[in-house]
Symmetry: C3
Subunit: 350 residues, 3 copies
Amino acid sequence: MRPMQISFTPAEIIKLVEPGRTCGATGDQISGIGALTVAGRGEISFLGNPKYRAEVANCRASIILLPLDYEGDPAPGQLHLMVEHPSAALARICARIEQQLWPKPAPGIHPSAVVESGAKVDATATIGPLCVIEQGASVGPGSHLQAQVFIGRNARIGANCWLMPGVTVTAECVLADRVRLHAGVVVGSDGFGYEFVAGRHEKVPQVGMVEIGSDVEIGANSTLDRARFSRTVIGEGTKIDNLVQVAHNVTIGRHCILCAQVGISGSTTLEDYVVLGGQAGVAGHLTLGKGAKSGGAAAITSSVPAGTFVNGVPARSYMLERRLQVLFQRLPDLFKRVAELETQIKLSSA
Amino acid sequence: MRPMQISFTPAEIIKLVEPGRTCGATGDQISGIGALTVAGRGEISFLGNPKYRAEVANCRASIILLPLDYEGDPAPGQLHLMVEHPSAALARICARIEQQLWPKPAPGIHPSAVVESGAKVDATATIGPLCVIEQGASVGPGSHLQAQVFIGRNARIGANCWLMPGVTVTAECVLADRVRLHAGVVVGSDGFGYEFVAGRHEKVPQVGMVEIGSDVEIGANSTLDRARFSRTVIGEGTKIDNLVQVAHNVTIGRHCILCAQVGISGSTTLEDYVVLGGQAGVAGHLTLGKGAKSGGAAAITSSVPAGTFVNGVPARSYMLERRLQVLFQRLPDLFKRVAELETQIKLSSA
Amino acid sequence: MRPMQISFTPAEIIKLVEPGRTCGATGDQISGIGALTVAGRGEISFLGNPKYRAEVANCRASIILLPLDYEGDPAPGQLHLMVEHPSAALARICARIEQQLWPKPAPGIHPSAVVESGAKVDATATIGPLCVIEQGASVGPGSHLQAQVFIGRNARIGANCWLMPGVTVTAECVLADRVRLHAGVVVGSDGFGYEFVAGRHEKVPQVGMVEIGSDVEIGANSTLDRARFSRTVIGEGTKIDNLVQVAHNVTIGRHCILCAQVGISGSTTLEDYVVLGGQAGVAGHLTLGKGAKSGGAAAITSSVPAGTFVNGVPARSYMLERRLQVLFQRLPDLFKRVAELETQIKLSSA
């Protein structure tokens, strides 16, 4: 199989990264990016961290981005580009590739989209094929609904959002600006609330909404439930990975990180800068203080003070959990020692 | 950002809840619902549980729903409505809001929907934009396929079901009445069955189906696999949260509760009224007896007798797990005590 | 509710399985398949494993597939078909049912599909209703996009693939041949990568892709992230269940098995024939050697040597974890024994 259709001439790379100095030369077309140890001919690599400096000499990439003070010689047919920040230079190349991968679409509404009367779509927004926008909904300037997206009644999408294929935003939910929802995200499914009456679970109406702050990104197939009443809130700048569940009436602060398959139960609050490892679960009605952190697969069953790192099932202080796990592994030895003590006691009392 | 577009005059609220008695008055338009401690002006609150009675005096809501025997005075500009059941009165208001959020759509088939010849859609059903209904499938009276829903060959949707955007029901699957499937639910994906032959996993055909009873609700992006042959069954009244996995040939009884991200492995049976906490997992070929319960994140690796509450990884009786976790935390102390005993024994035998 | 619309006459079954010998007779139409203990009249059963031979005598199925050397008598109105491999004979019947469930669709592009100019669809491929194929993408011979599928720019779908409703394959991703993606699968969502700069998480562009080998099958609503640069790779013949998360830059070998709700963190490598139980999680930057195996819900936090079976949270060698769990259950007894030793020591030293 062929690699990604990236294609830059050395001259184009030079134009993009504006090196302070160059050394060597290559005629190779650049069609890939790789770490120093794996990049090969036709690829570009970079020294992002000084501790890998020794790897540069053996790197077989056609072009290497290096710090200004780098002094080694390029291999034959290899071009060294000395720049102030190799990582930043690489980011500029990646940003250019991003534009090729996902070019800014032309504004307008695809003829196959279904936009109900009374929906407002800004003239600079792009509504891709087979999207549905229900009445009263609005889509702000520069926003892009890629394809097969659903926007429910009175929902509001801010400016410069990107909603990928198959995203659902249900009635009354609100997205601020520059929100990025990956394919299959569901915003505003009903909260999971029932009352047990006469042997049956009677539904508690879920008539609140979900409010998502600016610069939030949410991974593929994640689900966020609407509040019972009032709001489920995702704070500005928070990043959520794939297949994450956020229950009703949860409040997530600003700049939090929720790794894949995390689950947050109803009415729990995460303050700003909380970080949860993959598959971690948080019980309902808890508060995780500012900057609290959990390891992957942690089961958080009580509130966590600000700045505290927890781990384990159930979750405890990270250091305690670590110590307990070490002792747990020594249980066979402990049982043996106790048995021996018992023998000795018996002997001594005999 | 603005709150939900709820808007009731005090007179409309009074008409809805039919109070036995009123006290005070307000001219405020009601545009939100909140608990006693958080509701503010322009919102309605309620005393659902007598133990919060003391909070009423400080509540700043414009209208408060109270039991008939409530005697305190409203704040200035505040209206007290005394009703038999404040929670039930609130539910009536929520139901009205639900109607506003999700008004009963007009029956009919949206022109953008693709309904194959030989599919039967009841005249009172609503097929929303960009749905696909394959041949031989049927949709019963009053059912609503909101948008971008897929119904496979010969699948049968009963009466008054609501299938939200992006739901997939594959060939031959059957839904009874009043089933509610949230966005992205997949009913009838293939069971995960292979035979290992000559170094490769050969697919075992999955030709059974999924049968879903009346009044079942299933959360966003949950997946239910079709049986190898025969049926995967979800019993009447069972409620399933988001991102739940139900494998092939699973039988779930009536009125069960499966919280978010639960996974049930193949051929396992849940009897009626089973409750599984979030992220719990159940191994294959087990039986969870009537009313069995698990904590969140429990890993259930053997069958559970009726009425038993289990927890832990692997799951054990809830009380045993709780005791073991207490002792686990005391391991550092236990190791110290054993070391001390060893010292004393050595000294005494010296 | 009615069973699946399977319907075979005894003569049709005989034609399909070509028995070496028959015994008895039935006039029943066959409309279902069941195990020996549950199959009833109008159904077919089979003796797949000799150890269940005793169950044949009590089986009430109308037709039973049996090995050539079977000697018992059929019940009245029951037909025994003696074949070389009863399981293989059953598979032939299931394959026929599969064809009825999912008949090979006619090639062509449904008029409601949106195929951008510059996309290449093989003349023998089937593009179902409401699919979107962006420019530069290609779909190979015999492949079937069932409905509401999205294929991004320059993505390539090989030959004889089957993409079910609501599947998303984003830009530049590549599928080889005979890949089967169940409903709601997302291939090529962005990897979860940010740099923390000045109190905010700045996005690291994810410009790699996902490459899926031949004969891979992926379950409903699973998500696979594109690489930061280069590739996320799923090797030939690997089978992935529902709701599984595969992060960016993961490399999965050939013929692996990932059960439902598994999560693999970024840059981890699974060599060939790895098997992960349901809900298992794997941390980032690890290697699971060839044939490594984990139990369900295992939390794998360090690399696993080839051929090793691990279990637990955190995961350890399966046998060690098993022994530790036995000792864990004996903690109450151990605490008692230590307390007793302390009493005896105190007495003896008194």
